[in-house]
């Protein structure tokens, strides 16, 4: 899907300071070499299987299926991975690549803290230094993850600029990278930023759809009718979609965080409310005002609280290959509670956005249809925030 200059249709590109150009060129060259290197792939597969616990389960949610009375529902359990989310897939790949490139230090941005925890984990495993930038607002929302990162040996730097959330953490990580390049790899957490990041991250996350395809063929003997995943930057979604893009009968549905609703300013639903722009190294859709100032977005989910979307999603939207739907805080919280009570699975509030859409969609589909929902992460980290949302003051 990527053309040589890192474009997905009109989206993507490398809109970054000159200071970083040789760094991304070096990264692209290294990636192009190692992605075809049998030794690299053997090491990565071993890390995936022995360390991260792959393949993750494709679980038939029988109670949920019966309760909703429509399509058969499967859950792709990325929440069962080591560190509790899909983020580890990308991080193990990038950390291994960085190590091969001779880098000794990883820096990363994080929203919910899942990517920061995954990066800190990989850094600990591979004996690398790690610095994580996290919006100050998010360090409060996700205090437990801040502790986990520190426990793993990472330094967590609270970012106070702008809205003090994910976009500001990305900006600060980019600034840090321009000041220290030779020993440092920027381990970007989503399918965004300048080329080659959207491609590299997608390739490492594509293991999700590769496994779904194998597993569903084994269990059902056919492909699913719909694959549903939440979209912030879009890494678990592109990972879930990738191996189905050519299977035109499989609906691909990305669930954006609508916050308090797409008719309010308190939303992070980029495809529903944004327009074409250039930011954080890429051309894509962004929530912005008429002067191109990036909008202060909002979602209950720190991981989806980002004003842009990865360029490949923007392209899949343009060509109509994937659908993107907004899901509100309320719907996501209801789905969070629903999955806990119905299946005994507490999803991340991010993943609950995908569950929420499936709850709406499944009853409209026949019982011989199949939906796969990617549960991108587990929800332990969100319990205190959801309790607060329900008016309960819970101290961790």
């Amino acid at each position: 899907m990527t053309n040589p200059n890192g474009r997905f249709g009109i989206h993507g590109g490398q809109y970054i300071p000159e200071t970083l150009m040789n760094a991304v060129i070096e990264l692209e060259e290294a990636y192009n070499y190692y992605k075809n290197d049998p030794e690299f792939n053997r090491e990565l597969t071993e890390l995936f299987n022995e360390y991260a616990g792959r393949p993750s389960r494709l679980y038939y949610a029988e109670k949920m299926t019966h309760d909703l009375g429509g399509a058969k529902i499967y859950l792709k359990r990325e929440d069962l991975n080591h560190t509790g989310a899909h983020k580890i897939n990308n991080v193990l790949g990038q950390a291994l690549l960085a190590k091969k490139m001779g880098k000794t230090r990883l820096i990363a941005e994080t929203g919910a803290g899942q990517h920061g925890v995954a990066t800190a984990t990989a850094a600990a495993l591979m004996g690398m230094e790690c610095v994580v930038f996290m919006g100050e607002e998010d360090t409060i929302r996700q205090a437990l993850n801040v502790y986990r990162m520190r426990l793993l040996g990472a330094e967590v730097i609270p970012v106070k600029t702008g809205t003090a959330t994910l976009k500001d953490a990305v900006s600060e990580a980019m600034r840090e990278w321009t000041s220290r390049i030779s020993d440092t790899h920027y381990c970007l957490g989503s399918v965004m930023g300048p080329h080659p990041f959207p491609t590299i991250v997608r390739d490492f996350q594509a293991v999700i759809s590769k496994e779904i395809k194998e597993q569903i063929l084994q269990k059902e003997g056919r492909l699913p009718d719909a694959v549903i995943a939440c979209v912030g930057g879009g890494s678990n979604a592109i990972g879930s979609f990738y191996h189905f893009i050519e299977d035109k009968d499989v609906r691909l549905i990305g669930c954006e965080a609508a916050g308090r609703g797409i008719d309010t300013f308190e939303t992070a639903a980029t495809i529903a409310t944004g327009r074409l722009g250039i930011f954080h190294g890429m051309k894509s859709y962004f929530c912005q005002d008429k002067d191109g100032q990036i909008a202060p977005v909002y979602s209950i989910s720190a991981g989806l609280d980002y004003p842009g979307v990865g360029p490949e999603h923007a392209h899949l939207h343009d060509i109509g290959r994937a659908e993107y739907v907004p899901v509100t805080d309320d719907e996501a919280v209801n789905a969070f509670e629903y999955l806990a009570k119905t299946e005994g699975i507490i999803p991340a509030i991010e993943s609950a956005h995908a569950v929420a859409h499936a709850i709406k969609l499944a009853p409209t589909m026949d019982r011989d249809k199949i939906i796969v929902i990617t549960i991108s992460g587990r929800g332990d980290k969100d319990c205190a925030a959801i309790a607060r949302y329900r008016g309960e003051d819970l101290h961790e």
Binding site: Q14, Y15, I16, E18, T19, T161, D168, R175, I278, G292
Partner: protein, 256 residues
């Protein structure tokens, strides 16, 4: 030669960066006048952006103050048109790609020509992406200024060969902001530039003292100062213009 070349006709050039609307456009106008009267050869006018990823804390602060003050792209265009009644030195805009793209590149760049803005500096538009705006800049005679960084190495010749207006040489790794010491081997970078182009080159990022300016201009054609000026605006607000004037004089004197 473009109009920008005139900035380099008075010995080593002193280039002053000022964020439009920090804290308000009246102060920006007075600051520009003070800088020009005291010897600034080229004015770099910043159009604020919500998320300026190439800026350190000082210029980030100026962007926030300006946006909070209600400045917009249209207000800045009207302001520059007014400013051009008596400011004759070359002026360029410094902003981010999305500000131009979002406004509509053709509308933005044609307006630049109408209000006599001579060039455009976009720190998030590297050589590989300049086709985004280059054809439109060519059409309206607005120079798209290229940057060269300490990490550019094998890219310097390629960038220099297609450069126009002047070349902005980034002195150090990292973002904008004052630095106590600049360690990059700038003379070697400039030597490669000289082999590939005749246009002037000026050094920016981290320069704040007359000694630094003199040293940087010693190996190039001029010095660019942003954060040190913005610090005066941050400190003195509406009273900043005369302090900026004094400061610019001390810097230009060091370059003479």
């Amino acid at each position: 030669m473009s109009n920008i070349g005139k900035a380099f006709e008075n010995g080593k050039a002193f280039i002053a960066f000022i964020t439009c609307g920090d804290p308000d456009l009246e102060t920006t106008a007075a600051t520009v006048h003070a800088a020009v009267e005291n010897g600034a050869d080229l004015i770099e006018l910043g159009i604020p952006f919500s998320d300026p990823t190439a800026e350190g804390p000082v210029i980030q602060g100026a962007n926030i103050r300006a946006l909070n003050g209600g400045v917009t792209t249209d207000k800045i265009f009207a302001f520059v048109k007014e400013l051009r009644r008596d400011v004759r030195v070359p002026m360029v805009f410094m902003t981010y790609a999305n500000v131009v793209f979002s406004y509509g590149a053709e509308k933005f760049i044609s307006t630049c020509r109408d209000i006599e803005i001579d060039g455009l500096i976009l720190p998030d538009l590297p050589f590989e992406e300049k086709e985004e705006f280059q054809p439109i800049c060519d059409k309206y005679g607005v120079d798209l200024v290229s940057l060269i960084a300490p990490t550019s190495e094998n890219r310097i010749a390629m960038i220099a060969r297609e450069a126009e207006g002047f070349l902005y040489i980034v002195s150090s790794l990292g973002v904008t902001g004052t630095r106590s010491e600049i360690k990059t081997d700038l003379a070697s970078i400039v030597a490669v530039v000289r082999q590939n182009t005749d246009i002037p080159c000026a050094i920016g990022f981290g320069i704040s003292t007359p000694e630094q300016a003199k040293k940087m201009a010693g190996v190039s054609d001029g010095a660019i100062v942003g954060s040190a000026i913005i610090k005066l605006l941050e400190k003195y607000g509406k009273d900043a213009p005369r302090y900026v004037g004094e400061y610019v004089r001390s810097m230009k004197d060091a370059l003479r």
